[in-house]
């Protein structure tokens, strides 16, 4: 494909006061692909999305979205994008339908076209029954789905989704995945952030891993998983004697004596688990429970940065999913009265 990238970021930097949030990020997203930005709390995902969607200004670097520079031609960028932020941005006093019709009006669609798209989106996101109720009466998942529907009514060429499945039940999550897949199939570029490797694996053509404002890895899901060998089998034993016997049987791996568990690296295949259990059986070692663990974000982090994501050293205590809103005032703004 010779198309120019839908998103290109070069040397992006952003700091809030002394705190460097983005420390030289470079990436390209091919048009019509799904790109997934993976990172733990406070990694800088939302900050990146805010810069790419013209909500915040970069300190340095160049960001182009849909062929336009976000700093120089913000309106051209805005005309091409749809955004679903991490915290939902819907009008709670209006009904779901009115929210969508309002968005249609702001996209300057004709009345009939707005009604057509509204009906289609309400059906697609399973909101038909609630369409005429004020959003204040919606559940969290319904608000989230409406939020996503609102960012689609303008039929954007590039769609930004900041943790779109946070707080969704498995069914809504699948709907979201399907929507993202369908959009990409229709030529829309999707940029999404998530904390779940599973989600990135499911959706993304390419994944980038953000940690402390730097990309520590980038590639296809398979390339990334090849880097990670975090799969293991976890065995629990009824007593310390069995645990000790097992440790010597498998060749001296460190065990968790308090939890009476032992982690043994494994690809999770039936054959390898059989072999392992066979070896323990030979020595009549009693195993209480067994669980197979496939690589997740923790393992990716462990493999790539040598530490678990929640052990990140210099994160302030002021972020995380319980952080209710990032629209509040900050250091750069005038003191509020």
């Amino acid at each position: 494909m010779s198309d120019p990238p839908a998103i290109s970021v070069a040397g992006l930097r952003k700091a809030y006061g002394e705190h460097t949030v983005l420390d030289g990020v470079d990436l390209d997203v091919a048009a019509g692909s799904v790109f997934c930005l993976l990172g733990p709390n406070g990694a800088g995902k939302t900050t990146m999305v805010r810069i790419m969607t013209t909500l915040a200004r970069a300190d340095a670097g160049q960001v182009r979205v849909a062929g336009h520079d976000v700093a120089e031609e913000p309106d051209a960028v805005r005309a091409a994008i749809g955004v679903t932020g991490q915290f939902s941005a819907v009008d709670k006093l209006l009904t779901g339908e009115e929210n969508l019709v309002m968005m249609g009006g702001l996209h300057r669609l004709a009345g009939a076209e707005t009604r057509r798209r509204t009906a289609r989106l309400l059906a697609r996101f399973d909101l038909e029954d609630a369409a005429r109720r004020p959003v204040a009466t919606y559940s969290g998942g319904m608000v989230r789905r409406l939020d996503l529907a609102m960012s689609l009514i303008g039929e954007p060429r590039v769609l930004f989704l900041d943790e779109p499945t946070a707080g969704l039940d498995p069914r809504s999550r699948r709907t979201m995945w399907q929507v993202a897949g369908d959009l990409a199939a229709g030529g829309v570029t999707v940029f999404l952030t998530t904390q779940y490797l599973e989600e990135a694996d499911e959706l993304a053509d390419r994944i980038a891993l953000l940690d402390h404002g730097r990309l520590v890895a980038e590639g296809t899901p398979d390339e990334l998983k090849r880097l990670v060998s975090g799969g293991h089998v976890s065995l629990r034993f009824p007593d310390e004697a069995s645990l000790a016997a097992a440790v010597s049987a498998v060749g001296g791996l460190p065990a968790d004596r308090d939890a009476l568990t032992l982690r043994i690296p494994s690809d999770g295949s039936v054959a390898s688990v059989k072999t392992l259990l066979g070896r323990l059986d030979e020595q009549a070692i009693n195993v209480k429970t067994l669980s197979i663990h496939t690589p997740d974000l923790d393992d990716v982090f462990l493999a790539l940065t040598g530490r678990a994501p929640d052990q990140a050293p210099d994160h302030g205590p002021d972020h995380g999913p319980d952080h209710t809103s990032d629209h509040g005032p900050d250091q750069e703004e005038a003191a509020t009265p």
């Binding site: 805010r50 969607t53 013209t54 909500l55 915040a56 200004r57 309106d75 051209a76 805005r78 005309a79 994008i81 955004v83 932020g85 915290f87 939902s88 941005a89 819907v90 009008d91 709670k92 006093l93 209006l94 009115e98 309002m102 009006g105 702001l106 996209h107 300057r108 004020p134 609102m150 960012s151 303008g154 809103s325 629209h327 509040g328 005032p329 900050d330 750069e332 703004e333 005038a334 509020t336 009265p337």
Partner: protein
Amino acid sequence: MTALTLTLNDSSVMLRRVLRHTTRNPATLIMSVLLPAILLLLLDFGFGGAIRIPGGDYIDYLVPGIVLMGAGYSVSATAVAVATDISEGIIDRFRTMAISRTAVLTGHVVGSLLRGLIGTALVMLIAVAVGFRPTADPLRWLGVLGLTALMLFAIAWVAAAIGLATGTPAGAAGFAGLFQILPFLSGAFVPTETMPGWLQAFTANQPMTPIASTLRALLAGESPGDTAWVAVAWCCAAALLGYLGARRAYDRRASR
């Protein structure tokens, strides 16, 4: 479409939104009538006997002040509405769209103006029911309408600026509360000459005083003279400052 028609389109979508809020949550409109009405009855029947106004009924003196009270309430309602939009994140959504930059504010301001005019009309009707007898001719009524609308417009821009600058509904309500006190520190309820000298320096020269006396003169069928221009000048200055302040606060939120 030209830039102007685009701006009109976006602003009218936003205005429809604000009017829906008002009908869905009528408490704001009800309070903007109820509070001034209660104050009217309290001042007229409760304290009216103790307040002597040379040459006339106290209620005729009082009504412009009550109108200003309603406008003061409208400031906090609008400031809170704008701040709520910020704290709920919907302003951020609008800012990622290629729409006219201040459409959302224009929607709030025009909505606030319409709410204020309806409230004022209702308060006047209540006043007439309890004995208010305006003697204005049609031209003077037009003047009353014009000045009231101009004042509500100015105050709405100031409210939008307060809402944007504070960014939280509680902060906006607190700050805008000052505007509810302002009519009491003016010649709206009692002549400023009856106040101590140090207070007069403020009360005689703050905008509410010329606005109240202009409205009072017009309603009584008299000529307001130069105070009318002072009142209009204050309103224009406040509208301009509010507008510039609101735009600045709006842009500043974008530069984070």
